[in-house]
């Protein structure tokens, strides 16, 4: 059984700023190895190639499929101050759907598989044209991107329509599944959770980073991800304050960018700990891996995190993790420290424990590395293939 899959995406590495592209790439490569024939559609021409995957570019107007991933409407508004908001993404999604009509007509697919709301209008068109079952993969929703504050009604409506039209909905964790049931009224029997996987193809012997700090005996606590409401950056700063009161030799490294970076900086300054912070900006590739390898602990204080792939990437790179309980990854990862994102006292307590008691990071990594074997894209692809087989 080797299904023909028409997969509709929005981004692929290295052109990404979020986890959507990474997740899509990991999944299609693994599905390809399992024998699925995948045609992957992107909204516009990008300089990417994936072995074994037939890539199609829909030629959506550059302006309406902007440079970055979609995060949330309010964030977009803050970044670009454009009015009315958010024309670009919604127009892009609609235009994508229009282009899909022609593309789909030429396809001979058994199944359609779409990733997040920007692709839903296109997916609905493809389903109408081909008359084949639709799988909708939910990496994030407007609800969790905004933390429930002012979700954009148009985006919400598009999400709702896409979820309605889907034959099977795949959330990336039980946390996301609950949001789909409670906030989108998706019937439970239509939902099949598939956790993300993680790849271990990175260079192990990169030159060390932040050596001058390490030589002076400083410990490195890392925040890595978009600096947006959803990721809880302010909780990281508040915990950092508490940690600094007990341990002066800690540097808090912030890797990423986003609309809350200025707030993060001013909050650290207000608390008198800005000198403990290092903002690296957005990093990718080897630079990103070197930061992981330098860190004594990776903290993911997300307010609402559908999955949280970065936590797995950290462990596979030998960095112990402290993740918020409001994340998909906290449900499945046993060898991690966990904390409610709002409980900054406990966050600080756990950060300090990792820095003080050396056996703790050592066992977290030892046991975490054993455990991480289960979170492979190959396992995720097996589950997705099972879903395809049910539908075809």
């Amino acid at each position: 059984m080797s299904p023909n899959v028409l997969m509709i995406g929005w981004e692929l590495p290295p052109f990404y700023s979020g986890g959507l592209g990474i997740a899509c790439l990991g999944l299609i490569q693994a599905l390809n190895k399992k024998g699925a024939k995948i045609t992957f559609v992107l909204p516009r021409k990008m300089d990417v190639k994936v072995d074994g995957i037939n890539l199609i570019f829909a030629d959506v107007n550059e302006k309406s499929s902007m440079v970055t991933s979609y995060t949330s409407s309010s964030e977009w508004l803050k970044l670009f101050s454009i009015d009315p908001f958010p024309p670009d993404f919604i127009q892009g999604a609609i235009e994508y759907a229009k282009k899909m009509y022609k593309i789909a007509k030429k396809q001979n697919a058994d199944i359609i598989h779409a990733h997040d709301w920007m692709t839903y209008p296109a997916a609905i068109v493809a389903k109408e044209v081909l008359g084949k079952p639709l799988v909708v993969h939910v990496h994030s929703t407007e609800y969790d991107r905004t933390g429930g504050h002012n979700p954009n009604p148009q985006v919400y409506a598009i999400e709702k329509e896409g979820l309605n039209c889907a034959d099977v909905v795949i959330p990336v964790g039980g946390y996301m599944k609950d949001i789909l049931i409670n906030n989108y009224s998706v019937p439970e029997e239509k939902i099949k959770v598939v956790y993300n996987g993680v790849d271990d193809d990175f260079k192990k012997d990169l030159p060390p980073a932040l050596t001058s700090f390490k030589e002076l005996g400083y410990k490195i606590v890392l925040y890595l991800g978009r600096i947006t409401l959803q990721k809880g950056p302010e909780y990281f700063v508040w915990a950092a304050k508490r940690v600094s009161e007990y341990d002066s030799r800690v540097i808090f490294v912030v890797t990423g960018s986003g609309d809350m970076q200025d707030y993060m900086i001013s909050e650290a300054a207000r608390l008198g700990i800005l000198d403990k912070f290092l903002f690296t900006g957005f990093l990718r590739g080897d630079d990103r891996d070197r930061i992981f390898q330098a860190a004594d602990l990776y903290v993911m204080p997300s307010v609402s995190e559908p999955f949280g792939l970065v936590a797995l990437e950290a462990i596979i790179r030998g960095t112990p993790v402290l993740v918020s309980k409001q994340s998909g990854v906290a449900e499945i990862l046993k060898n991690a420290l966990k904390v409610d994102f709002w409980d900054t006292e406990e966050m600080a307590n756990k950060i300090l424990a990792v820095l003080r008691y050396h056996a703790l990071p050592s066992d977290l990594i030892k046991e975490g590395s054993k455990e991480i074997g289960q979170f492979s894209w190959s396992n995720s692809a097996d589950k997705v293939m099972g879903i395809y087989n049910l539908l075809i």
């Binding site: 007990y246 060898n335 600080a348 307590n349 424990a353 008691y357 066992d363």
Partner: protein, 406 residues
């Protein structure tokens, strides 16, 4: 002919509350959780007493009155005796009633339910003495048989117990040292003169303790007459069947609504239907039966997990670093001559603290998770190390002053 020797372990640890690094230097009460969680020792004790100790004691007393042949034995940690005295004296009196029948033996162990034998002989002996005093004070008896925490056993421990004049010592009847030999006889530990070794029949014991409610087990449901027939089948092939288990098996690990109390109630009747069967306490077994062979255990054997070693307590880096941390403080603590410090230090030696830090999730994980009141082994470790760090700080402060107020 087999004599059945049931021994039940009665122990509840003093669990450490969620103790944060910010509490170090300020809060010296490590065990006084008042929350609704399972870290609240008083709450857990009350629950276990209600579900297990009280109904089980009532039933055992009834069986002792009904069947003159019936015998049971108990081993209490000092830590639970203290808690019962303080919070639930009625449970303690119900145990006393059993002992007063003269057909219930009490065993010797460490007061703090610790693994001290493997870390400090002097400390171990102090804890055994403290336990003997407590048992004599409460029950008016002097234990003659020794069982170590978690049934942890080795040649060295047997030699120690022999020197101290114990008549018998208990251990797991594990295949690695028994080989083809049966656990249903008494043995002589290598290097000892008089002491006899009594080995747990783990198959029959675990049929009750672990498998009783397990519906996927081919022998489920386990009835008293079925179990009695297995015991009677040993006839001619063994002398003593040692059924060793946690007392909480009755009503707490195996629930009342699954029929564990009915099973217990019918067991003596079914067992003595066979005229060759009877019951013994360990001291009676030692008087009645001779040793069959010498047994050599040059390593440590326990009653836990598929490995039957100490790896459930000291199998990973967090566990060994925590236990090393606490035993390294021995001289410092003892030099302070401060009773409160000494008591807190000893309470931190209870084996359960280290068990909660066990990361063997995947094979034995279910059992470990069931018994773990912390969210994860790492959470257990963090509270433990923070509390132990506070104790160390108190020790250092106390050492600086000539008088101690810590």
């Amino acid at each position: 002919m087999p004599s059945i020797c049931p021994y039940f372990q009665v122990h509840q640890p003093l669990r450490i509350k969620r103790y944060r690094v910010f509490d170090v230097g300020h809060d010296h009460s490590y065990f006084d959780d008042e929350s609704d969680s399972n870290l609240n020792n008083r709450k857990v004790l009350a629950k276990v007493a209600e579900k297990s100790y009280l109904p089980a004691n009532e039933l055992i007393l009834k069986l002792l009155r009904k069947y003159p042949q019936f015998r049971v034995s108990y081993s209490f940690s000092g830590v639970i005796l203290e808690q019962l005295e303080k919070y639930l004296p009625k449970v303690l009196s119900s145990f006393k009633k059993l002992v007063n029948t003269g057909r219930v033996e009490i065993l010797s162990e460490t007061y703090y339910h610790s693994l001290a034998f493997f870390y400090s002989l002097g400390e171990f002996e102090s804890q055994v003495s403290q336990h003997r005093e407590k048992v004599e004070k409460i029950f008016g008896v002097k234990p003659k048989v020794f069982r170590n925490t978690e049934l942890a056993y080795s040649n060295e421990l047997a030699k120690w117990a022999d020197r101290k004049g114990y008549k018998a010592i208990l251990a797991e009847g594990w295949d690695s040292f028994l080989g083809w030999r049966s656990p249903n006889f008494l043995y002589r530990p290598k290097g000892t003169n008089k002491i006899k070794l009594m080995l747990k029949n783990y198959k029959l014991s675990d049929d009750i303790a672990f498998r009783f409610s397990e519906q996927t087990w081919s022998q489920w449901p386990l009835t008293a007459d079925k179990f009695a027939s297995w015991v009677s089948n040993i006839n001619g092939n063994g002398q003593v069947v040692n059924l060793f288990m946690d007392y909480e098996t009755f009503g707490e690990h195996q629930w009342a609504d699954k029929g564990i109390f009915e099973f217990l109630e019918n067991l003596p009747k079914e067992l003595i239907k066979h005229p060759d069967n009877d019951f013994v306490t360990p001291s009676e077994a030692v008087k009645r039966y001779q040793v069959m062979d010498e047994v050599d255990v040059p390593f440590i054997v326990t009653w836990a997990d598929s490995e039957r070693d100490l790896s459930a307590w000291v199998g990973n880096a967090i566990q060994t670093s925590a236990i090393d941390f606490i035993y390294k403080m021995e001289n410092g603590i003892k030099n302070t001559s401060n009773k409160r410090l000494l008591n807190d230090w000893r309470r931190l030696q209870t084996s359960d603290h280290f068990y909660y830090m066990c990361t063997k999730w995947y094979s034995d994980g279910d059992v470990h998770k069931y018994f773990n009141p912390y969210e994860s082994p790492y959470d257990a470790f963090i509270s433990y190390m923070n509390a132990a760090s506070d104790l160390k700080l108190r020790m250092e402060k106390s050492g600086k002053k000539s008088t101690s107020y810590a």
